[in-house]
């Protein structure tokens, strides 16, 4: 059985959880895989932490918690503080370089992308930084297919915002680079 465990973390308002939902949805409804998505967040709407865990597998997921993610997507420094330690030694970190100042040394495969500033400056929609991150994730890991993810994004975002989000996705897909 092939199974990938992911943690996508940020602070409230960055859309990390939505990113996880879109990812799971892409896997299940478009890629015909199995996925389990869970989340946690603090009571503040903004500024508090927000995290989602996604497991994607080609068989039904048995144990639904992510304790040692294969992939950590970090949208804030706080995400590293909270979840950096847990990452699989062979795992991958993808982070938003606008928000994370210090990536940890102990993770070997690290990728970065200026998701927030790309979203802000290229398409004037900083709120789509999470979709930029999904683009990067897709490119680097292929944990779900590009097609599945693009469809899932289109289904999940507000009507009228599909092309904006496609652009965001592409920014991520194209813009990510290894550290």
């Amino acid at each position: 059985m092939v199974q990938t465990d992911l943690t996508i973390a940020g602070v409230g308002g960055q859309g990390s959880i939505l990113a996880g939902v879109i990812l799971g949805s892409a896997a299940v409804t478009n890629d015909g895989k199995y996925a389990t998505q869970t989340q946690a967040y603090s009571s503040e709407l903004r500024g508090g932490f927000a995290v989602t865990w996604v497991i994607i597998a080609d068989e039904p997921v048995v144990f639904p918690r992510v304790t040692q993610p294969d992939i950590l997507v970090a949208q804030a420094q706080d995400s590293i503080t909270r979840f950096g330690d847990s990452v699989n030694p062979d795992g991958i970190l993808i982070y938003d370089e606008d928000m994370v100042i210090e990536p940890p040394g102990y993770i070997k495969r690290i990728y970065k992308i200026p998701a927030t500033s790309l979203a802000r400056h290229e398409i004037q929609a900083p709120i789509t930084a999470n979709i930029v991150m999904l683009g990067a994730l897709c490119k680097i890991t292929g944990v779900v297919s590009r097609d599945a993810l693009e469809k899932a994004i289109a289904m999940s975002v507000p009507r009228g915002k599909e092309s904006l989000n496609r652009d965001a996705f592409n920014l991520g897909f194209e813009g990510v680079k290894a550290c």
Partner: protein, 383 residues
């Protein structure tokens, strides 16, 4: 049956709470009363939108007491009725859970359990309402409680809950928790006509209630629902088989308590579902709900390590699967009970097993987070 037309056949990636709401609709539920509470709110939120479209009614009440009472009232007029809440709401509903039991009212109660006691942590699940739903109202009684381990089972077991409630005229609890309530996974909803749903039996016309047996039948009396001219007499006081109040005859009192209990216990073979995966096992991991997934993962690891470990899952927690546990105890050497709490079902399990095998309990490393499979394994290695 236009009522059920809107069953959303297909594969979805949605929350357990979504699945529960859709399960209710697939079961023909047409009355839901509720009061918002984390982590159960999404069930009610969705039903508020869905029910009017399938000829049903959603009522947001002033509190949880109002919710269960109006759901019971609706059940007595023939609706398939449900309420949905979390632990604090169950606590408030206790008195009228007893009412539903005593008046033999079909009712589905969704408990998306959260971290308690008291206000605790609303968004974190803890499966610690397991005994409260069975013993939390005053007096002696039996209810049915089902324990799902996934969003898919929040759909499937919600349907089953309605069937059991209707078949046995009893409150049936779905013991979800915040973890699966908010978990998204694939949910497969079958074709509408593939879902088996049960309806209650209705009492027949008679000159007087004295000519009917509306209550206290251990085989389940047909229900004298309101509005049909049956002139039903329903009371929360001790009553006889016709529903007539009787506060002086000790024999009637005895029957008033015993028969609704027997009604469930006598049919326990139809009600109790367990998943026994312990063939050749020396060690059984006994669990229910979301922890079962830890248990299954741990058993997998253990078998890889050459340990003869099996799993035993209670899909039905109440009536308690005593017979099944006894049987299991006689076939294994050691039973490790796993619960995401401090051991609520454990005494009930141990009572049926201790004569035949060693039994012990293991809570999660951190309450509120289901056990890591490795943690279970290390416990098995250490024992």
């Amino acid at each position: 049956m236009s009522r059920n037309k809107k069953v959303l056949t297909g594969t979805h990636f949605e929350m357990g709470n979504w699945a529960c709401a859709e399960g209710a609709i697939a079961a023909g539920c047409n009355f839901v009363a509720g009061y918002p509470i984390t982590p159960a709110s999404e069930v009610a939120n969705r039903l508020a939108a869905r029910l009017p479209r399938v000829n049903g009614t959603f009522l947001q009440t002033e509190d949880e007491i109002g919710a269960i009472c109006s759901a019971i009232g609706a059940s007595w007029v023939g609706c398939k009725a449900m309420t949905v809440t979390s632990g604090p709401g169950i606590s408030l509903m206790q008195e009228n859970i007893g009412f539903a039991v005593a008046t033999e009212t079909p009712l589905v109660i969704i408990d998306v359990q959260r971290f308690g006691p008291s206000t605790g942590v609303p968004s974190v699940g803890l499966a610690a309402d397991m005994v409260q739903v069975a013993r939390g109202s005053h007096g002696d009684y039996q209810i049915i409680a089902l324990s799902p381990e996934s969003p898919q089972e929040m759909f499937d077991l919600t349907i089953r809950a309605f069937s059991l409630a209707e078949a046995y005229r009893v409150p049936v609890f779905l013991m979800a928790d915040g973890f699966i309530g908010h978990m998204r996974e694939q949910i497969v909803i079958p074709e509408e006509d593939r879902t088996k749903i049960k309806q209650r039996k209705i009492a027949e016309q008679s000159v007087s209630v004295l000519d009917r047996r509306d209550f206290l039948d251990v085989k389940v009396a047909p229900m004298p629902v309101f509005g049909l001219g049956l002139k039903a007499h329903v009371t929360s006081s001790c009553h006889d088989e016709h529903g007539m109040r009787n506060l002086s005859d000790p024999a009637v009192m005895h029957t008033y308590v015993m028969n609704p209990i027997k009604k469930i216990v006598n049919h326990r073979d139809d009600i109790v579902q367990v998943e026994d995966d312990c063939i050749d096992a020396e060690v059984a991991l006994v669990s229910y709900g979301t922890v079962s997934r830890s248990a299954r993962a741990a058993a997998g690891l253990a078998r890889k390590n050459g340990l003869k470990v099996g799993t035993f899952r209670m899909l039905t927690c109440w009536p308690f699967p005593d017979k099944e546990i006894r049987q299991l105890a006689e076939n294994v050497e050691y039973m490790l009970v796993l619960e995401n709490n401090t051991g609520q079902m454990y005494p009930y399990i141990k009572a049926e097993a201790a004569h035949a095998c060693r039994v012990s309990f293991l809570g999660p490393q951190t309450l509120g987070q289901i056990h890591d499979p490795e943690y279970i394994l290390s416990h098995l290695n250490r024992r």
